[in-house]
Amino acid sequence: MPLNMRAALVSVAILFVWLLLWESATPVPEATEALSEFELLMGGADQEARVPPPSKVVGHAWDELSNPFYDAGPNDKGIGIQLGYSLYRVLTGYLAAALIAIPLGFVIGMSPLMYKALNPFIQVLRPISPLAWMPLALFIIKDSEKSAIFVIFICSIWPMLINTAFGVANVRGDWLRVAKTHELGPLSTAFRVILPAAAPTILTGMRISIGIAWLVIVAAEMLVGGTGIGYYVWNEWNNLDLNSVIFSILMIGVVGMLLDLALSAVSRLVQYQE
């Protein structure tokens, strides 16, 4: 049997065992339906088992996914709409970061002077948790939506900037000599030699960035509220709807994986073998 098939079988087996354990560890509390919301908030009749079993989560997921775009007021929107808000913010902040980080990374990578001059700033700004910018962003921008986008921008800029600079600075001397002996100007050299040579490294940076941006958006939306998957998780927690919490955690994982897959597909396009 090919390796992929066997791996898939093992994956399914692990999932099955895990679901079985989970299901058996969380028996549906009897009479849950009969408890009032007040009792639920107080912990209900059953003091321990609050986590719903997978069978209930799957049932709930089915309901949610069969109507993902409904909109019944500010606190009750479909999962598709919430994910859409988050994706919009992530992509906007991320693309803005790319538009700045990649050209700037080129400059830093090509000029030792600029590298030395900008390095201290990068070293100080990079380790700052993106959420630490939130109060300042809210104060200056005065708009929670735009502040969330700014936080995504600031967290996704560093990996792209650093990887672009690194990739550009480390283009093989041989290839630059090819450019020189063919009398390529600086712009031609940048586009015809340096960009394709550094593209795999740049794409690695973009992939790291999108991963971080997706991590950060959940936290940012928990802070600013209103819409988005982060807000949704927090809101459902406040509603003590753990079915929804678990379901949305899974959805965050799935969307993050899809974003990563998309970028890895792009990076395969620019990959080359030496």
Binding site: D174, W175, R177, V178, K180, T181, H182, E183, L184, S188, R192, V193, P196, A197, A199, V270, Y272, Q273, E274
Partner: protein, 304 residues
């Protein structure tokens, strides 16, 4: 002053001292000329500065002293007039073989149409026997095939001077022989001027009109200019039957083994030698095959 196509005049290169040491003078007083259409090989022990000379000719490196004049103009910086084939092929790995050649052709004639560029590039890939592999990336080609692409790229841009830095150094003997044939074929069709570094005496005799012998560094120089007076077209299997072949070969090997390190050689100008002729040659008695004008190379310089 002569009107040679390429003239290298009292070239020297030194690298700044590291620590308390003196400056490292790699070579000095390097003088030689190359005529239009001539195929010149340079041989010398490792580290004597052959690649450095080639890079200066290419305009990729600058000399500490002296000038290189090509076609009446001083060489300053790289130019498409001088094509380079590097030892490690230097193909762009994200481009296919054809695209690599197109890269060169497009840089050379930006005004050409796409179709014209493509046809011209394909023609040169066919000349080196790669019509089957044009769409493959360098990583999918063998070392010999990569070197052929690199040679096709250099010839396709039709530079006035081709510089080859040990182009076959990394190849096995069989492949090397085949590509030498390709190189001879393409050279005889294009009649380009070639300056080539090699470590292989037989290769030099097969290909060159003239072989420059470099003494050992530091302070290396061109000790001898050896004419290879074996008529063309030459052929790898029959060339060894030529009566002059072993005389030339012995002369070259003898230099490399015994005399390359002699310090009297360096700095005292370049000797002109034609081992295939019995007597030492006189500049006037050169056959038509030798397009060099050796008389002018006898520049007796005081040793530095």
């Amino acid at each position: 002053m002569s009107k040679s196509f390429l003239s290298v005049e009292s070239l020297s290169k030194s690298f700044p001292a590291s620590g308390k040491n003196e400056d490292l003078v790699v070579f000095e007083n390097v003088d030689f000329k190359i005529e239009q259409g001539e195929f010149v090989c340079i041989i010398g022990h490792s580290g004597c500065g052959k690649s450095t000379i080639l890079n200066i000719l290419a305009g990729l490196d600058s000399a500490s002293d002296g000038v290189v004049i090509m076609d009446g103009r001083e060489v300053a910086g790289p130019s498409l007039e001088r094509g380079v084939v590097f030892q490690n092929y230097s193909l762009l790995p994200w481009l296919s073989a054809l695209q690599n050649v197109i890269f060169g052709v497009r840089s050379r004639w930006p005004q050409w149409s796409k179709k014209q560029i493509q046809e011209h590039s394909e023609k040169f890939l066919k000349l080196v026997g790669l019509e089957e592999a044009m769409q493959r990336k360098p990583a999918q080609l063998s070392g010999g095939m990569r070197q052929r692409v690199s040679i096709a790229r250099a010839f396709a841009t039709q530079p006035k001077l081709l510089l080859l830095d040990e182009p076959f150094g990394a190849l096995d003997a069989l492949t090397r022989g085949n590509i030498q044939d390709e190189l001879l074929k393409i050279w005889s069709e294009t009649k380009q001027t070639v300056f080539m570094i090699t470590h292989d005496v037989d290769e030099a005799i097969l290909l060159a009109d003239r072989v420059l012998l470099m003494s050992n560094g530091p302070r290396a120089s061109i000790a001898e200019s050896v004419s290879i007076s074996i008529p063309r077209p030459r052929d790898r299997s029959s060339i060894i039957e030529h009566p002059g072949y072993y005389k030339i070969r012995n002369h070259l090997v003898n230099f490399l083994v015994k005399r390359a390190g002699d310090k009297e050689d360096s700095g005292s100008g370049t000797r002109i030698v034609d081992p295939a002729a019995d007597a030492p040659v006189d500049a006037g008695a050169q056959s038509d095959l030798l397009r060099s004008a050796p008389g002018q190379e006898k520049s007796f310089k005081v040793s530095g």
